[in-house]
Point group: C2
Chain length 353, copies 2
């Protein structure tokens, strides 16, 4: 059976690029003429916001659909405008899929098992309906946050299997403070925390939450950052969801802004596809992204949002184009990113095409 990862790889081969275009509409950044059109039709309402977001997205999708295989709408920007915003999200997904694109929803959902099931069924599976079941958002893949552990991930794994969908689990995110929790070095094979608590109860004086532990003279302590523990879980969870082409439909989010960590994670999860944010505006370069690829040139998709969606507002484009050409400029910016990554792939001897 062809998995999400198989579909993804075929689509990437077809376009010969791993670039993914983010669809992040923001009211203060999208072209004024689109806003005027929406307001003239709907007044200064929330429906008008939703309408101009949809028009903007359609422009970007039409402009990039022949160049890239994947788009990534960030649902935060849509749900911020309530039900009308969510309707635009649904219509954007439909429009992109009808254009032959793979849609990765950036949602970072997470909850306990029974609630994670509700998220998963709505976004990548099927929800209970009047007779049988129905699909709602029907995206191809979704990002998932791992703070709650396996029982919050399992419903997504089930839907990946049953509906040929994919997930990307946050492992090492692209933002500056990602290390606060993700990089904390944990002790591997430490005595259980229950034992620790008993020790604490015994003395009762030291801070309740920690404990000096002596590891005998000859002993060594093995430590690893939390993201490695996560990565090992992602690998385990993904081993059951391998496609014909050798990659898993359980992927990982690994920021382009942390190439050293990416190198470690690439070896930890050799069969996981990486969704790589942080390219461009956040500081990650094409060369930085190479650490996310395996030697076969597969294993990563690299995403950019602001630098493409709003390229028309930046140098050098804003000198040569008016805002009416936001879509044409997005296409140019996409081509530039594709070229930069192709060049880096060839330099790294990781180009499969």
């Amino acid at each position: 059976m062809r998995t999400f990862s198989d579909r993804l790889m075929d689509a990437v081969d077809d376009k010969q690029t791993m670039v993914c275009v983010g669809l992040d509409p923001r009211l203060n950044l999208i072209p004024a003429f689109l806003k005027r059109e929406s307001v003239s039709k709907y007044g200064e309402t929330i429906e008008a916001v939703a309408a101009c977001y949809l028009a903007f997205n359609k422009g970007i999708i039409d402009a990039v659909k022949d160049k890239v295989a994947i788009v990534k709408p960030q649902v935060a920007f849509y749900e911020a405008y309530g039900a009308p915003g969510v309707k635009t999200f649904e219509e954007t997904v439909r429009y992109a899929r009808n254009a032959g694109l793979i849609v990765v929803e950036d949602a970072k959902r997470n909850d306990i098992g029974s609630t994670a099931e509700a998220y998963s069924s709505g976004h990548i599976g099927e929800v209970e309906f009047w007779k049988g079941k129905t699909r709602v958002y029907d995206v191809d893949a979704i990002t998932v946050s791992p703070y709650l552990g396996f029982d919050g991930v399992q419903p997504f794994l089930d839907d990946c299997r049953n509906h040929q969908k994919g997930i990307f689990i946050l492992v090492k995110t692209s933002n500056p403070s990602s290390g606060e929790l993700q990089d904390l070095p944990h002790v591997v094979d430490c005595p259980s925390m229950n034992d620790m608590r008993e020790d604490l109860a015994d003395d009762g004086t030291a801070p309740l939450f920690s404990k000096k532990r002596k590891f005998g003279e000859a002993e060594k302590v093995t430590v690893a950052p939390n993201y490695v523990s996560l990565a090992l879980n992602v690998k385990t969870w993904g081993d059951d969801l391998l496609g014909e082409r050798g990659y898993s439909s359980v992927g990982a989010v690994v920021g382009a802004t942390y190439p050293n960590e990416a190198m470690v994670l690439r070896k930890t999860m050799p069969k996981a596809y990486f969704l790589v944010p942080g390219y461009g505006a956040q500081g990650g370069s094409a060369d930085d992204s190479m650490a996310c690829l395996n030697s076969d040139g597969y294993g990563a998709i690299v995403s950019s949002s602001r630098d493409i969606d709003y390229a028309y507002r930046t140098e050098p484009f804003c000198r040569n184009y008016s805002e009416d050409s936001f879509d044409r400029v997005a296409a140019e910016a996409t081509s530039a990113m594709i070229d930069a990554l192709s060049k880096a792939m060839k330099s790294a001897d990781k180009c499969p095409w």
Copy 2:
């Protein structure tokens, strides 16, 4: 200035209970007569699902509004049905707030800074609008997942301050697998991971993601579970948002199912309000919840969803009532929970009323 925490405590005093009722509509569990009414009006559509969810919620809210101070809709169940579901969520929030209830949205949102800002502005703040700004969901507080660190939390803190709202950050969740990441023992004051990576590069043979480290003969290693590190951050972030009554508007989610951990966390974050899920269906008892309270009897709200919403389907209620009385039964189940917690509070000498 009165903060969210002040409002919360006044409301809890008014009702003399810390019980919070979850609003988790599920199509296969809500009464058949509500479904028939919706289908007769909207056909077997997704709008009919949204309509019977709203009718169900209004029934529960009307039944419990004089008994409790807080309701907690879990947004997963609403957004699973797309824009119509989200509209019902918005209407539920409005209905509950108009009934004088405090609304805690269980959403567990998380993202990098600029995207977290979009989540925060939509849910507890104000979004950009045609002229100025507008409020969308306008809940009183929202749950937030901490995997991305401070820059993903900061926008929520700003909105808490500017709009007298609150957040509850996941620290120790109620589900069985919460310990996988949350309980990992991390080394306190470990050499930075950058140093570790240099060591790794030197030998190159050991698994890339970990390193045996020798801590000299006389040295000791201090370890703490990840949730403690999180708790210390929550404390720090919350110290700037203390209300007149001494508690912070930056709270923590601490499951009733882990009373030992709750005891540690209560001491780590003395001024944080705890949102305590896991009561009832998940296995947490009234006595278990006492660990979440400070000695003044404040500092926690205890939430139950399934056991109240669907009490009409369970013993002994299902023998004595038909499904038409789902709301009356929810009120009875709520009273029983209030009584159980009051009794436990008195036994623990933690009842302020």
